[in-house]
């Protein structure tokens, strides 16, 4: 296996979460893996038992993308959005909205790929539409958990 890097998820400001991961590959490949449907549907699947029957990407500024996942029980989860900015092979800004809208409105994702010695550091920043949207997203528990931060929780749990 490659020495691919540890996943980091942290809260950046009251409106953002930042997901960082290292990949043992040049960034043009990481970029392709994020933008070609036949490649995306091979890894962006989630927990075991989920497939990705719909993966459509109109990869140009203003172009839409649409993802739908389905689990063994037939439960579906969909999301989609529009590409706002494309800088090959280093930066993609896109909007994202889940069908169930558990994030309290549209979010904006900024994917940045930095290459060093043929290896890539990916930084994915998810920004909520507003403080209110972020607070609405808190209702799902997810962002708020991020706010608390894994490190903080780990610390607390370790000290209990």
């Amino acid at each position: 296996m490659t020495s691919a890097g540890k996943l980091k998820v942290v809260a950046h400001s009251e409106r953002e979460i930042v997901i960082t991961r290292f990949f043992n590959a040049p960034r043009n490949l990481v970029f392709e893996a994020h933008t070609k449907p036949e490649l995306v549907r091979r890894w962006l699947l989630g927990p075991p038992g989920w497939t990705m029957p719909v993966c459509e990407i109109d990869f140009r500024v203003g172009g839409r993308y649409r993802y739908v996942w389905r689990n063994a029980d037939g439960r579906e989860m969909g999301m989609g959005g529009v590409h706002r900015e494309i800088l090959r092979p280093e930066r993609i800004v896109s909007t994202q909205l889940f069908d169930e809208d558990w994030t309290g409105g549209e979010t904006v994702g900024t994917l940045v790929l930095a290459e060093h010695n043929g290896k890539t550091t990916m930084t994915n920043t998810v920004q909520y539409a507003s403080r209110e949207a972020r607070d609405a997203a808190l209702k799902t528990g997810m962002t708020d958990g991020m706010e608390a931060g894994y490190g903080k929780l780990d610390e607390l749990l370790a000290s209990l």
Binding site: T2, F23, W43, L138, G141, M142, E147, L156, L160
Partner: protein, 135 residues
């Protein structure tokens, strides 16, 4: 760009837990309580805060089930309750695992893409060589 829920919705109860944990003072209070129970006066000491302000934070923590108050009528010591923290942490770990599983699949895919590209290059180099020989 990363789907997050996959039906991994946090239990309703976690809303209160996460909301309580979002505040740095409340996290500091919990960290302090981790080393043993304390009275409100004792808890207020390290913070530049009035006792009523600390009491307000404690009420949020108590409603979230993160702390409980002792019976001692005078002192009413505050102590930390681990169960909701464990539950919140489990949910976050689950979320992290989902993301990490995706990225591990991406690692495998990238390895394949790299191998594919090398093969391509080698084939290209060979063609160049053969072309050179023919000339």
């Amino acid at each position: 760009m990363q789907p997050i829920s996959y039906g991994n919705q946090p239990p309703q109860r976690l809303d209160a837990t996460f909301a309580a944990l979002a505040d740095p003072t409340r996290r500091a209070i919990l960290a302090r309580l981790a080393s043993g129970e304390a009275s409100v006066t004792e808890l207020a000491e390290p913070f530049a805060m009035s006792q009523p302000a600390i009491s307000k934070h404690l009420k949020v923590l108590e409603r979230a089930g993160l702390v409980s108050r002792g019976r001692d009528a005078q002192r009413r010591p505050v102590r930390v309750e681990a169960a909701p923290l464990v539950e919140a942490n489990n949910w976050l770990e689950n979320y992290r695992r989902i993301l990490e599983r995706n990225f591990q699949r991406l690692d495998t895919l990238l390895d394949e893409m790299k191998a594919e590209r090398r093969k391509h290059w080698r084939a290209g180099a060979k063609r160049q060589q053969q072309k050179g020989k023919r000339q």
